[in-house]
Symmetry: D2
Subunit: 377 residues, 4 copies
């Protein structure tokens, strides 16, 4: 495989490929052949730290190589489409970081191209792969909480709050499409879609609390002279109406002090409820109205081998599975799909669907009224 | 004083009057003179259990008595206006349960009448009086969390969920005005107003999950033949825009299994954050970005004597203050205002303001667009 | 009834008597006749704030009055025996704060005298009366956690930690018998006895971290010249062996920063477990190994009407019952016993038994070896 | 390096070696050369899944190979001494799973041999390497909680509770030395020693709740006929006296339903307190009595880059570091020590010290009196 990008996500994907055999011994090992980045220095460093045979700076020539079957894209959002389309055109399997694209139109074109190819294309929605969310899905599917009435989703962080936090591509609409909404809100929407279902319409508001950021530059220019504008949302809030009649709320924010990686949801149904937050990733809370009256209460399930995909979660519940394990599960599913195993449910078509919801939210935050998601293509 | 109504709220108000001297020895004791309810049986039972000298069934004649200075109204919402106006017209001090009225027009008229009298009129927003919320107010006022950016408010219960739960006036718009929104959402809106500020505009959606309820009747009619329609919201969700630029979300629901009395908020500011939920009433969570980097984290403050109004909260933090103490604080403030102490900030004018916000939310849930609160009068 | 003592406990007992009819309308109301304290000022103030008809400074003459049926003792430990014995000798019902006495020999004599009288004598172990502990008892009795294997009990506070905290009788062995052990550890031992059973033998260690305290005096003497020695334990730790084979640990400390009123236990059995801490008094945690494998986890039960003695805990779970409600339950049980209702299980005989365990712990902390509790009489 | 043992610990050590370069790019990569187990099948499978070049069944001949520098021992406790001594005799660096040995005498001999060699020998106490414990150490060292007064340590699991759980070497004294005490209690004692200091004397009790277990066999013998005796502790409780005057409690149990991997401690000092439990591995709770009075409370620090060894814990606090990261930290420290970096503080001498404490606890549980740890050699 070839990895395009050596940032944080490149690092974690590489770790996941490296330890895949220990978790899924039945899957074929994936050889880390080439890592690509825009400078020789970054590429060389990536190869050394992440365990690749080679490094390169031109992703096109790497993708064209016949010994490359898999292209893993961990670059800024605006390059997802060219790299993914090039890889699909050359018959490669593609794993791409979320969100799929910068615009819903780009996402549509990517999904259409993926639909015409026979290779596997997949979007990384790793948080959904943890034991707690898999168990939530199982409980919902077997009717454990009855008909779903409400979804409450939050993805809150606070890294962007200090005003001195420098500008990165995540603050620019041209490269990222949106701010907190696409960067982290997309995970919450993915989970909403996975656990609750299709979203029909949305109302929303968005805010950019800090309008400009120091531009990180090589020159020693004085602060202030190097400010770059922030044209994406620091925080987006939304109301959701699902096709099945459920109501939902969503908030994505980089401006919630004290919340570091707070991907959280609560789902209320006619027979029970489920609650989760990623800051306590090994815990799923489950309330069943079918328990005896005097002992009803949210159970805190400490996830482990009893959960779906339990082999990932070590022989002891509570041993401390975390972020790495979700990436292993993600890539394990990708590799299994390549081998002809069960079809993934987070292909580019799904990525396009989530992009439509995000587009609906952006539209609603501009229009001041409910917007239909279907029209957002 | 005279109490009108002997339900649950009548009971707790009576307890609060009874033990007021132990918490606020400087306040004059209030004599529980007459309790009123619609039947002799209810009124007599109330007098016995709640410690009143007398009972009666006609509230008008009781209010007219010269030995009654205070009228405490704990009846269904639609009777708040006639009783309160009659009491104000007779020069009595009035304490009234929330929400102020069934319609915003009624609320406006009540607020106008109260503004023309010299007696004290006050609405019961007891949850705001607990130590945790008072401490939150103090921290916000002294700049402890900086400029407020986000409010997240929830008031969730689950008592209405079993479909067999019988119809009460809380399910009928004519008597209650709205459902979860007015019954419990009003507390969350009161706190939003108290801690964050004026609400300018709202978007919303509401749902009635169970459309009819068994009518509790004297006849032994078969179930099904006696269903009464539910024409109020079981659940309302809303987005809020505050005058100071903050964004907010609100949910009021009687359909959230596992949440029993979950009045909860989180407020994020430019320098920190506060979080609270009433199911853990003695805890306020506070995050300060001014703590040293490696020890930043939400503090769980166990409330007690160090908090504002600390005399209410016993000499030991964590000893377990609860619902009663909030009612004592509420009534203590009311009696102090009568005596000429500091003016209350939850007079009828405030109740009218909260009613305007609720009206805006109802309007927005019908219109499918953002509604200005100011226009909601 | 007559109350002897106007400190914090006098205040809460008085509140409980005042509101008893609202919680237990079937019980006869108890008239607060006389309050007694050592000075006229204290006694007069108590009468005013706590709602007594009269006040006095000589407890003997008050107890002798024929219109006094009940004597409620809330004085320092060393006066429990003379007052209680005098009251019993005069045929009065006695409610006494824990611990029963300063020495195990005193406790034995008091229990023997109580056994010879027909009036009701009872010790205040109020924390055991909360909904969570009552529910724990019910679950244990019905086999919900199987055979009990382990008890872990803690009662931690931190009020004594600042070295400048002045000396009170709670720091002197002559008046208090022991320190943290008797003052708060007795509650934990009471719960251990109630939920697990008889304690056979103990090992222990005790420590006095601050050896002298400023003596609170009327004179303006310089600090240091007025230090009083502390000759009781600031912290006691113990191992417990129960008659039924269970193992236990116990810690009572006034020196645990951050723990304000942390009365906590966890009980592990062959089929499940229970956990509780008073700082979250409305929550009982229950784990059942009989739940389906993938949804096993500690349930957080929010206590309310579904629990034993549910009438005490309001119509809504999670509404916030607290300290007052435990005192109402305590006094309700006392008044019911006087009326001939079910016999209390916290009579003086029980208080003597707990005193024996405390004596065993003190002995073991001196001897450096396991001590039998039975020999501790 | 060569790995001896292919069980669970062999798997996690191998994962840690594989991803070491991504976390510590400055350390030399360690080549996974040979994996050893007692059967060809196990060894071959280990080589495949864990990424080793070769496999073998005779550990002696592997250790003798000149291309092996490091021997990693993850076998049952009774083989630690022969393998480690053989490796030390052949000049190899040794990493050994805890506890060091089956008896304190074995541990002494191993520590003496290690003291005479120049290679690095180290014991795996991985839990101590997590961010929360490292931060706790930093706070203690800088005086953040003042003088330490109390330690409360627990390591609770429940895997052994079903009576049908088959016998393994962990239930036999000959192979394991002790039960819960050595298997998991050793981690808690290691942390006590690391954070609080030397332990002087102990009192203890131990219990074996299930006296015999089904022997896992190849034959299809009927259940019951194949029971093996359990001669180690299912649960051990102890009181600790530290050299610095602090008191402590310890419990190690495999019989605590609901607790899956509950390694927990609370440390109270004269200026604050720290609390942690591994089931929430990314959280350290810290109380400072130097905070302003009204905002004192346990902070929940979500660990991340701000903590010591922060490079291990990803760029985002709360991203979900877990068990793997502790093993990477452990092995990173080992490899760094081999390269001449800072000397490890968990060498065999330390392992011997912990073994002495365990021996003291075993002795005290037999003698029924306090035992000095120093004499336990």
């Amino acid at each position: 495989m070839a990895l395009v990008g050596t940032g944080f996500m490149g690092r974690v994907h590489s770790i996941a490929y490296a330890i895949l055999p220990s978790f899924y011994p039945d899957l074929p090992p994936v050889r880390r052949r080439v890592v690509v980045d825009v400078t020789k220095g970054l590429a060389r460093k990536g190869a050394h730290q992440f365990g690749y045979d080679e490094w390169a700076v031109d992703w096109r020539s790497v993708i064209e190589r016949p010994d490359i079957d898999i292209v893993d894209i961990v670059t800024p959002n605006d390059s997802h489409r060219p790299i993914a389309e090039f890889a699909l055109d050359h018959g490669k399997h593609v794993l791409c970081e979320k969100p799929l694209a910068v615009t819903v139109e780009d996402a549509r074109l990517m999904a259409e191209k993926a639909a015409r190819t026979t290779t596997v294309s997949m979007l990384v929605f790793n948080y959904r792969r943890c034991a707690a969310v898999l168990e939530a899905k199982r409980l919902i599917d077997e009717g454990g909480i009855g008909r779903i009435l409400n979804f409450r989703g939050l993805y809150l962080q606070d890294w962007a709050m200090p005003e001195g936090t420098p500008w990165t591509w995540r603050f620019g609409a041209a490269q990222s499409g949106s701010g907190a909404l696409g960067d982290i809100g997309s995970h919450a929407l993915d989970i909403a879609h996975y656990l609750v279902g299709e979203i029909d319409s949305v109302a929303a508001a968005a805010e950019t609390f800090v309008k400009a950021r120091p531009r990180p530059g090589e020159t020693g220019a004085a602060p202030g002279s190097e400010m770059a504008p922030v044209d994406v949302d620091d925080c987006t809030i939304a109301l959701l109406r699902f096709s099945n009649g459920a109501l939902g709320t969503l908030e994505a924010s980089r401006f919630a002090y004290g919340r570091k990686n707070f991907l959280s949801f609560e789902i209320s149904g006619s027979k029970g409820a489920l609650a989760f937050n990623w800051e306590r990733p090994n815990e799923l809370r489950f309330y069943s109205a079918e328990d005896r009256g005097d002992v009803q209460g949210f159970r805190t399930i400490l996830t482990g081998p009893a959960q779906p995909n339990g082999e990932l979660f070590w022989p002891i519940p509570g041993i401390g599975a975390g972020y790495i394990e979700t990436q292993v599960a993600q890539i394990g599913e990708f590799v299994r799909a390549i081998g002809g195993g069960a079809r993934t449910d987070s292909g580019f078509a799904h990525g396009y669907r989530i992009q439509q919801v995000m587009e609906g939210i952006l539209a609603a935050s501009r229009s001041g009224r409910w917007e239909s998601v279907a029209r957002a293509s």
